[in-house]
Every structure is written in structure tokens, then in C-alpha cells.
Symmetry: C2
Subunit: 197 residues, 2 copies
DNA sequence: CCTTGACTTGACCGACCGGTCTAATATACT
DNA sequence: AGTATATTAGACCGGTCGGTCAAGTCAAGG
């Protein structure tokens, strides 16, 4: 192991921050390298291409989510419907914190990337799709349990789960465009009203 | 008037198509000029910058919408709630047609641009915000009338209108990521279930 | 000690970016 | 006809892009 075993991690963390705060196309490898204190050669030692970096960033963020507040929000100990509110709250506080730290609401990295690259890069699109599928599955489980527990009248849980995810992404999109996290707080809770029979 | 009085229009139409089908950053002025059969000098005669072009494209598309299917969908002759379904249908058929023509679902130009540029360009962000506000207003009017006519129990019509717009954008985002317009058809109608009291 | 191979350095590459500029050309007005 | 003005043409600019590469440095294994 080298003394700089964390080089790859630094690249990853820096890229993630920059991609999230701006966009894929706007952030160059040179900039990532500079901020991560890494030389270009080292970068290309770890990542064969910018696309590969993007995939790594997506996977990295996805893992962090799965182990982070998404795991908390969809904790089976919580009543299913409360999980939805937890998720909305988590997003709200996160975006609010990000805005006060950097002045701008970054929105959802996955949503941002999806709209930016999915017409141009099939590989990344597929990756992002998988992330959305996984997220949708969390909603699905919560809905199934809600129905099972009688907390919610029966419905098409799979379709509704996807619709809820879509709603969340849409709310974040609008909030980002307004650069106002309050949009999430105001519109977010209506996620519970969405129903597909 | 010059024999090529439509030069500006050709630039605009080409840029709109390219921005919509790909992204703002991915499309260069040179490419727009080539496809529009215009030279760079002419381009910069009509548009002082790429940013100005983007604004013009946003305005152009927004006007087309306002006079096109959005006007039809939100026609006051239609029962308010049917307007929502009309809107969803219109989006579905549009995206489906675009996909079979070009192989890819382009999604919503405004949503695409919003996520791509709103952290980087305040001017464009403001413009996109205005477009969303205008769209939200159409929903708002429909909801107000629905409540008035007793077709819908009273609710916070303004917030719900924005929520519906957010939902639509989210559905389009997901559909684009899946490159599958059917997502719009399946999830779209649930827009009517969204409620903010 | 010497080799191996992972890692780093930074110069370098061609392509392309948004944007500028000068000169030519077409049109409209007097 | 002559002149002003709008439009077009396309070479050109500095800068940046993603990516390559040859030349190293350095720690671990034999």
C-alpha cells in the first residue's frame, strides 16, 4: 500500500461534490485533480475515463444513501407511512444545509445526472435506472406493509411506489430551480396522497 | 428584409431541437450553425451569446406551449379535472412520438435545462422559474374551478397546483431515465390524486 | 540488494469550445 | 445612382477539454 492509499477516495469524494454541486459536463478532470490534490496521471491510473468516474460516483453515492438516511427512513421499526415523512424531512434538511453552505440547492445527484446524460450515455443511464429501481423498491416495501397493516387502503403498491419516487424527484427539481428548500417542506408531505389503484 | 429573413428562426429551431434532444453543454454553437446552414458570424449577429440563445429557446418553446397543447389541455371548455388527463395524454403522445422518431425520450426541455444550468446560471434559472410559475398557474386555475364546481373537495389549490407540476416533471424525469414513455401513461393519471390541504 | 509492480509526475496531444473580427455582399432609402 | 445599413462569410483567437505517455518514485517480496 502506498502512503497515499486514499488517493482514489479523494478523487471520488471531490468528483462527487463537484458533480452534485454543478454538473457532469461543467466539471473537468483537471479541476477535480486540482481540488483533490492529485495529478492527471494518477487520476487515469484509477479511472480509465470520465465515464468510469461518473459510474463510481453514482455507486458511491448510492451506497452512502443505502447505508445512510435512506436506511434510517425506511427502517422497518418505523410505521410505514411515517417512513415517507422521514424521507421528505431528511431531504429537506439536507438540501437546506447544502444551500446555506454553498448558496445553491444542489438537488438530487441522480436526478441531475439522469436528465443530463441519459440521452447521451446508455451506460450511465442504465446505472441511474438501477439506482431509481432500488429507491422505488424501498417505497414499495413500505407501501406493502402499510396495506398489510391496514394503515392504507389496498392499491397498486408497485406503481404507487414509483409514482412517489417520481414525485420526490419532481419536487426536488422544482425546489432546485427556485433555489428554495422550503418547496420540499411544503410540497413534500403530499407524497402520501399519491395513489394508483 | 433579406432573402434569408428566417435565418434567426432556423437557428432558433435547430438550437431548440438539439438542446431538447441532448443538453445545453453538449451542443456547441458550431454544430447548431452547421445544421441550420448558417455561419458563425451570422449567428453572433443575431445572438450575442450562447446564453442569449438559450433564453430565446426557452421563450420560444414556452410560447409554443402556451399556444399549443397546453392551451388545448387547459381549455376552459373542458371540465377542470379532464384538463389534467388531457395534459398527461398530450405529454405521453408527444414523448412517444419523439422517441420513435429519434430513439430517445427527450423529456421536458425546461426540466432538463433547469437541472443542468440552474446551479450555474442565475439568468437562465430565473427564466425557467418563470416558465414553471406560468405552468403552475394553469393548474391553479383548473383546480380553483374544480373546487368551485364541486368536482373536488376544497384544498390548498395553489400548493396543489405546484405539486402537480412537480409530479409531472418527476414522472417525465423517470420516464426519460427509463427511456420509456409508457411510464408517463402509467404514472401520469395519478396526478389527480395529489392533494395539499 | 535487486526486481517487480503499483503509484505519481507533469509535459504533451489533437480536438473543440465560445467568441471575435475583417471583409464581402445584399438590401433599403434618398 | 449612391450610400447607409443589415446580413453573411469564414478565418482566426486563446483557452480548455478528455485523454496519453514516458519517466520516474517508492514500498514490498524474494
Amino acid at each position: 500500500m502506498s502512503i497515499n492509499a486514499d488517493t482514489k477516495d479523494r478523487i471520488l469524494a471531490t468528483a462527487r461534490e463537484l458533480f452534485h454541486g454543478r454538473s457532469y459536463a461543467d466539471v473537468g478532470i483537471k479541476e477535480i485533480c486540482t481540488l483533490a490534490n492529485v495529478q492527471k496521471g494518477s487520476f487515469y491510473h484509477f479511472f480509465p475515463s470520465k465515464q468510469d468516474l461518473a459510474m463510481a460516483v453514482i455507486d458511491d453515492m448510492s451506497d452512502d444513501w443505502a447505508q445512510g438516511f435512506v436506511a434510517e427512513a425506511f427502517d422497518e421499526a418505523l410505521p410505514p407511512i411515517e417512513r415517507l415523512d422521514y424521507m421528505v424531512d431528511a431531504i429537506y434538511y439536507w438540501q437546506k444545509a447544502a444551500k446555506s453552505a454553498e448558496g445553491r440547492m444542489p438537488g438530487c445527484l441522480f436526478g441531475n445526472l439522469a436528465l443530463e446524460v441519459s440521452t447521451r450515455d446508455e451506460v450511465l443511464r442504465a446505472r441511474l435506472n438501477a439506482v431509481f429501481d432500488k429507491a422505488s423498491a424501498s417505497f414499495h416495501k413500505a407501501l406493502e406493509q402499510a396495506v398489510e397493516l391496514g394503515e392504507m387502503p389496498p392499491l397498486d403498491t408497485a406503481a404507487t411506489a414509483t409514482a412517489m419516487l417520481a414525485y420526490l424527484e419532481g419536487v426536488i427539481l422544482l425546489a432546485k430551480t427556485r433555489n428554495d428548500p422550503e418547496v420540499v417542506r411544503i410540497l413534500g408531505p403530499a407524497i402520501k396522497s399519491i395513489r394508483i389503484e
